[in-house]
Amino acid sequence: MTGTLQASSGAPYARILGVGGYRPRRVVDNAEICTMIDSTDEWIRTRSGIVERRWAAPDETVAMMAGEAARKAIQRSGVEAGQIDCVIVSTVSHLHQTPAVAPLIAYDVGAASAAAFDISAACAGFCYATAMADAMIRSGAATYVLAIGVERLSDLTDRSDRGTAFIFADGAGAAVIGPSDVPAIGPVVWGSDGEKAPTIYQTQGWDEVVGPHGEAREGEPRFPTLRMAGRDVFKWASYTVAEKAREALQRSGIAPEELDAFIPHQANDRITTAMTRTLGLPDDVVVGRDIVHQGNTSAASIPLAIEALYEEGAVRSGQTALIIGFGAGLVYAGQVVVLP
């Protein structure tokens, strides 16, 4: 064999070209939550900032919500669906282990032959997918990537658990990421801390609630649910993750006073406030607080929060935003992006 193997080469830089979201129709307010857990509207608001959240109806499946968000993102990006050559879906609540939901979504939105796969990076998923898309575009592995975060966490929520029932919610957010002549996605700062895996966890493995032939095990709940050691997560996010956000900002070369928006994963508004304080961002930096009306939608929360800030007129195209996702794993990823 004497031939020379060719390697791919891609665009000099990548950028987010369009963002879209899907918010389920049904609004669940704190009064309704308080019929399931012993709590009050005031307690929920002061501990989390959440006033209301949305829970999906049976027809608002993971694939349906992702498809709707993706269509909006594609339309806003100006890219034809057929140009998309990779679809990355981050979700922990697509209840089929296989096949991945990404190929189905790719087909649904008209990117039928795109490479398509799911990733599991919980609430950091959107930033993980953004980092992967950036690298793929610059390497030439893809030209236009559809990155989606979608969750139906209400399926995995124990509605009698006082610590989580008011937090988790459903929705989808998508971004089309493509080539750019100028830098528009900064270096990713990401990592994991598996030692802290037990702080956000699934109560049981599926094999513990369902027998080998699909039969429900005697006396077990139908589904595993998600649990959280709230204080430990709060401390980790507010300090350790905030330091990672600071590093992402430093590595981007954007000075704190040049930053336009800080849009962290919408885990808990108290975490957002504590992170903002740890980071010491100037007061005029716009801070994403979509959690107030949306709850914690895990991988979907950052693109949903970006969309909400556009709708409020709080941010505009060309501005810089520091985004950071963090969650079960524990995992985190953050980067500075130019808003589309």
């Binding site: 002061t46 204080r231 709060f234 300090y239 108290r270 504590a274």
Partner: protein, 81 residues
């Protein structure tokens, strides 16, 4: 070496910054939760700020025992001794 009053005053500043409680109300006999209305998440923030400010470590099992401002001041004094 800082006096008890100096430690209390610094702690009062932290409690004020984190939880918005008037620094004058942060007296040794006051309970964080019952008198000052400091909730569990603010307590986490206060403890992290205390560790930073006083260069001490407050393990989680110790943090649970800091019921009053006096408990916290005494812990800081012991940890710095």
């Amino acid at each position: 070496m800082a006096t008890t009053e100096e430690i209390r005053a610094k702690l009062a500043e932290i409690v004020n910054q984190v939880a918005g409680v008037s620094a004058d109300d942060v007296q040794l006999d006051k309970s964080f939760t019952d008198d000052l209305d400091v909730d569990s998440l603010s307590m986490v923030e206060i403890i992290v700020a205390v560790e930073d400010e006083f260069d001490v470590e407050v393990p989680d099992e110790e943090a649970k025992n800091l019921r009053t401002v006096g408990d916290a001041v005494a812990y800081i004094e012991r940890a710095r001794a």
